[in-house]
């Protein structure tokens, strides 16, 4: 019995979406029966990628056939139309223009056009501007329609706009955003021709990302609902002048590049964002003096080669500091704190140091903790590739400062098997701090009787000469924990009375 053909059209289209990457399979579906012919013809997600085809001629024939067949159906609009291709000759250009015109006339909700053309960039047809059903528009490598400033842009429903490698000037940016009142998400990448990014009185804009290689002088945004801003300066010519004072909801800022050199460069930079709560600062160079001051900042992610000695934080409300050190080896798994762990409410510092972790690093770390940061929870994640340095940690015994008092320390050592390095590592950490509880995670499982487990226990006990003389070890084998733990490769020590 043919049950598949009887499924609701929506489900059939979901199934076709799973096959959408393979034109051959889709064509095969269309010749199964008359029902399937109509189902495929009215499938509202049209996707054309040059890479899926061996022959250019076949590819362009396929685009023409599928698009015109779709536009002949009774379907109201296309949900998605995506085309990724190059154009080499006039016949190909004609086909692309014809098909785009057909689709624009029919209406489309999500449009993605990525066209690379030799010598002369592809210019989009003027009818694009009248596609009022458009909710999402991505353009890559093309020129905007020639009647762009003359004709009124009718993108009344546009929510998401992404422009990559499109030539824009200052006025185009301002005009575009003014023509899209519902716009929430605006992303420009590698676009050239503009020096200023100015958006005035936009009620709905929530997220702006500007990624550029040529110098941008000024960013001026008046958007009361803007909450996220990304500024990615690949040319690293210094941060643009910014005016975002009216964006009272701007709480998340991500910046890649380097602000202009100078003593107070970062303080000035941060003063552009009076309401900032989360900052991602990524700098691919060694910064000599990083002074960050913000009364509202709660989360800081710092990805740079900046030494802990060079960092000064005047951030009284900082709850979380992720110190990333340009970690290249792999993205660290950032574990969520244990569900019942009350210490996750305390100020937390997470370090992902790279190969520089040696005795000197630990000393700098210890001194950093003394700065008025009041961190109560520390998380130290180290990749095993760096563990050969741990033997040198013997030098730490010369540390003058007493161990720093903490609520909780979490150690993650990426390694496949236990070794002496682990003991040296724990030793170094416990020279620097005295935690009330400690969790040790690793890729290997802990045995109750293993050396590192015993060593850690003894070392923790050594730290306590009064009060907490009992140390409870909570290991994966405890059934109470199984419900809370998602991974079993962790062991926890809790000091209690």
């Amino acid at each position: 019995m043919d049950r598949i053909s009887q499924l609701p059209e929506f489900i059939i289209h979901e199934i076709l979406s799973c096959i959408n990457g393979s034109p051959t399979e889709l064509v095969r579906m269309s010749v199964l029966s008359k029902t399937w012919f109509h189902l495929t013809a009215s499938f509202p997600h049209l996707y054309f990628n040059m890479d899926d085809f061996k022959s250019r001629e076949t590819f362009f024939k396929y685009i023409e056939y599928t698009t015109s067949r779709f536009c002949r159906q009774d379907v109201v609009t296309a949900r998605t139309f995506k085309i990724v291709t190059t154009i080499h000759e006039h016949a190909e250009l004609d086909i692309v223009n014809r098909c785009l015109e057909l689709v624009f006339k029919k209406g489309v909700k999500a449009l993605e056009i990525d066209i690379t053309r030799k010598f002369n960039r592809y210019r989009l047809p003027n009818t694009l501007l009248s596609v009022s059903a458009l909710k999402s528009l991505t353009i890559c490598g093309c020129e905007l329609p020639s009647s762009f400033k003359v004709n009124v842009v009718k993108f009344k429903s546009l929510i998401c706009l992404k422009l990559e490698s499109v030539s824009l000037d200052d006025e185009v940016i301002t005009y575009l955003t003014a023509s899209c009142p519902l716009l929430k998400d605006f992303h420009i990448k590698y676009c050239h021709g503009f020096k200023r990014f100015c958006v005035y009185r936009h009620q709905n804009l929530q997220k702006v990302v500007i990624s550029y290689k040529t110098r941008v002088e000024r960013i001026d945004i008046e958007a009361p609902n803007l909450c996220t801003l990304g500024v990615l300066d690949w040319a690293k010519r210094g941060a643009p002048q910014m005016n975002l004072a009216s964006c009272k909801k701007l709480t998340f800022v991500a910046y890649y590049g380097c602000p202009l050199p100078g003593l107070n460069c970062f303080t000035d930079f941060l003063s552009n964002f009076p309401f900032i709560e989360k900052l991602l600062l990524s700098m691919n160079y060694k910064c000599n003096n990083l002074k960050l001051s913000s009364p509202s900042l709660r989360t800081l992610l710092l990805d740079s080669q900046c030494d802990l000695e060079e960092i000064e934080l005047s951030t009284p409300n900082l709850v979380s500091f992720n110190y990333l050190c340009n970690l290249r080896i792999r993205k660290p798994r950032i574990h969520k704190p244990w569900i019942s762990d009350p210490t996750c409410l305390n100020a937390c510092m997470r370090c992902y140091p790279n190969g520089c972790i040696d005795a000197l690093w630990f000393q700098k770390w210890r001194r950093f903790l003394d700065k008025k940061n009041k961190f109560k929870v520390l998380n130290l994640y180290v990749h095993a590739a760096y563990s050969q340095k741990f033997e040198e940690l013997e030098k730490l015994k010369a540390l003058e400062l007493p161990p720093y008092e903490l609520e909780h320390v979490e150690l993650q050592l990426e390694s496949h098997e236990e070794s002496l390095a682990h003991i040296a590592f724990v030793n170094a950490v416990l020279w620097c701090c005295r935690p009330r509880s400690l969790t040790f995670r690793s890729s290997f499982s802990f045995e109750e009787q293993s050396d590192v487990v015993k060593f850690t226990y003894e070392k923790l006990l050594e730290q306590e000469d009064q009060g907490h003389t009992n140390i409870k070890i909570v290991s994966p084998s405890s059934s109470l924990l199984m419900a809370l733990l998602r991974e079993e490769k962790a062991i926890r020590y809790i000091k209690e009375e």
């Binding site: 019995m1 043919d2 049950r3 598949i4 053909s5 009887q6 499924l7 609701p8 929506f10 489900i11 979901e14 199934i15 076709l16 979406s17 799973c18 096959i19 393979s22 034109p23 051959t24 399979e25 064509v27 095969r28 579906m29 269309s30 010749v31 199964l32 029966s33 008359k34 029902t35 399937w36 012919f37 899926d52 085809f53 061996k54 022959s55 001629e57 076949t58 024939k61 396929y62 056939y65 998602r486």
Partner: protein, 151 residues
Amino acid sequence: MTSSKTIVLRSSDGATFEVDEAVALHSLMIKHRIETGGADSTTIDVPEVTGNTLSKVIEYCKKHVEAPNSDDLKSFDTDFVKVDQAVLCHLAKASYYMNIKGLLDLSSKTIADMFKGKTVEQIRETFHIKNDFTPEEEEELRKENSWNLFV
């Protein structure tokens, strides 16, 4: 402590199933019914789904609500759809009516995988699809799709 409120779901053939509210809410359709139904919504009718299928749907929701991060979720899903075509189609339809995106995606993908790599004849055979084109129509299609051979 988590609320232990339960909801009763009634299938098209009168079978009833008592489930935790949290599990039932995995279906956005049921969530909507509860939110708009008022205080008396402890029994919810699901007339589009039979008892057998509803029982399986509940099994899926239970696993995904109670242990969403477990390591064996993937293998659970894989085994869950190792069923015959009829059951698979019923699951797809139920997930559509009950608005359970995860299950709809899972069943759609499973059916899609059954099409992959097969010739037109093989697909027709697998799914018992009748070829209702006339010879002239087939010829027309073949001509238009002849370029298909070069894809």
